[in-house]
């Protein structure tokens, strides 16, 4: 639980900003993946993340407001607010893209085939009870599965942890947002399944 608490109580502007940029990229990747696979569940996860974006944005604004003590530092602070704004707006665009899927608009499969031809993708994988990954840290899950992937977010008890550390321990029921080659993701899905 320690890691979860850290995630909701960021240590400072630097960490919040880093999380916000990564979170909005994660949402964009998920949104494109939802379009690609007509996956409404993935699209819903994108909408789900809006609260985390707003929380991070608020944390940055509060921290920066407290730090500004002079006109000179206020001017410098503008750059932080601008990055915060852009990352937030990108997150909102990801939500707009996810809504295309939720509103049941479908893109012809022949267009989608070429749209994401790169063999790298993002997927949502749930750790099932009795899975070979249950109880392993992310580091050890990498070794156990023998494939390369990046865990970019974990949803546990309705809370999101962005960029969990390699020591983060996986539990059954965790929903992972994972980036990797399509082969690696397919392999990982088998490992995440229950017995």
């Amino acid at each position: 639980m320690k890691q979860l608490e850290e995630a909701v109580q960021p240590r400072g502007v630097k960490d919040s900003l880093k999380d916000l940029i990564n979170l909005s990229s994660l949402m964009l990747d998920l949104a494109y993946a939802s379009i690609m696979y007509d996956d409404e569940e993935v699209a819903k996860q994108v909408l789900d993340l809006e609260q985390s974006v707003n929380d991070l944005k608020k944390a940055i604004i509060i921290h920066m407001s407290l730090a500004v003590r002079s006109l000179a530092s206020a001017e410098k602070a503008i750059s932080v607010f601008k990055i915060t704004d852009v990352a937030t707006m990108v997150a909102y665009e990801a939500i707009e893209i996810a809504k295309i899927v939720l509103e049941k608009m479908r893109i012809h499969h022949k267009i989608k085939e070429g749209f994401m031809k790169a063999d790298e993708s993002v997927s949502v994988i749930q750790i099932m009870k009795g899975s070979r990954l249950e109880g392993l840290t992310i580091e050890n899950a990498l070794i156990a599965s023998g494939v390369g992937f990046d865990v970019i977010g974990v949803k546990r008890n309705n809370r999101w942890v962005i960029n969990p550390s390699s020591k983060f321990e996986l539990k059954s029921g965790d929903i992972l947002v994972v980036r990797g080659t399509t082969d690696a993701l397919a392999c990982l899905k088998t490992y995440a399944g229950g017995i």
Binding site: S79, K82, V86, T181
Partner: protein, 192 residues
């Protein structure tokens, strides 16, 4: 080329370019780099042009493509275009020479970015290599999004581009993959 392929390719190009523009924009502010900021503007202009082309295609061929697909693609392109506009706004901050906050210099170090910019220095393992000869591997999952070769940004560069001192590589992938790639290049050099 079928109409589907044509739409697909344009869509793909807009998606790639909007992502490059965004990461260039973040990088330009984190590294206070005007040259990266100028790269953003170039990508944003190209996206504008591509968007108009794609929208024209969607309207002209709407009957073939189908109204539902045309509508969904239209919405998707609008979002991508707005993302590149945000990137442009950020790049203008850098080009105007506005001072950045000290916290930003630190933020860049640890971001687990999807895109990494690598400069080809005198002692770079990439110097003199052809893009096609870099040790890319499907398992590593790293690809060259763009290269700034002789001060010109090239999107999706040709395999034959030979890297020179001062070139910039815009790599996409996860950090570990990019590290593996650099090690592989170093090893290859030791053997030579």
């Amino acid at each position: 080329m079928s109409i589907y392929q044509e739409v697909s390719e344009k869509l793909r190009e807009i998606k790639d370019k909007s992502e490059i523009a965004l990461y260039l924009a973040y990088s330009s502010i984190l590294y206070e780099s005007k040259s990266l900021a100028k790269g953003v503007l170039k990508f944003e202009e190209e996206i504008d042009k591509l968007r108009v082309e794609l929208q024209r295609l969607l309207i002209e061929e709407a009957e073939k493509i189908g109204a539902e697909t045309a509508m969904a693609v239209m919405l998707l392109v609008e979002s991508m275009e707005r993302i590149s506009d945000f990137a442009k706004d950020l790049a203008f901050t850098v080009l105007r020479g506005e001072e950045t906050h000290p916290v930003l210099e630190l933020a860049g170090e640890e971001t687990n970015e999807q895109v990494l910019i690598v400069k080809v220095d005198e002692d770079s393992v990439f110097l003199g290599k052809r893009i096609g000869d870099l040790s890319f591997d499907d398992r590593i999952g790293v690809r060259v999004l763009a290269v700034r070769h002789r001060d010109v940004w090239i999107y999706d560069p040709n395999e034959d581009v030979q890297l020179e001192k001062g070139d910039l590589l815009l790599l996409s992938g996860y950090r570990e993959g990019i590290e593996i790639l650099e090690e592989a290049e170093e090893e290859a050099e030791d053997i030579e």
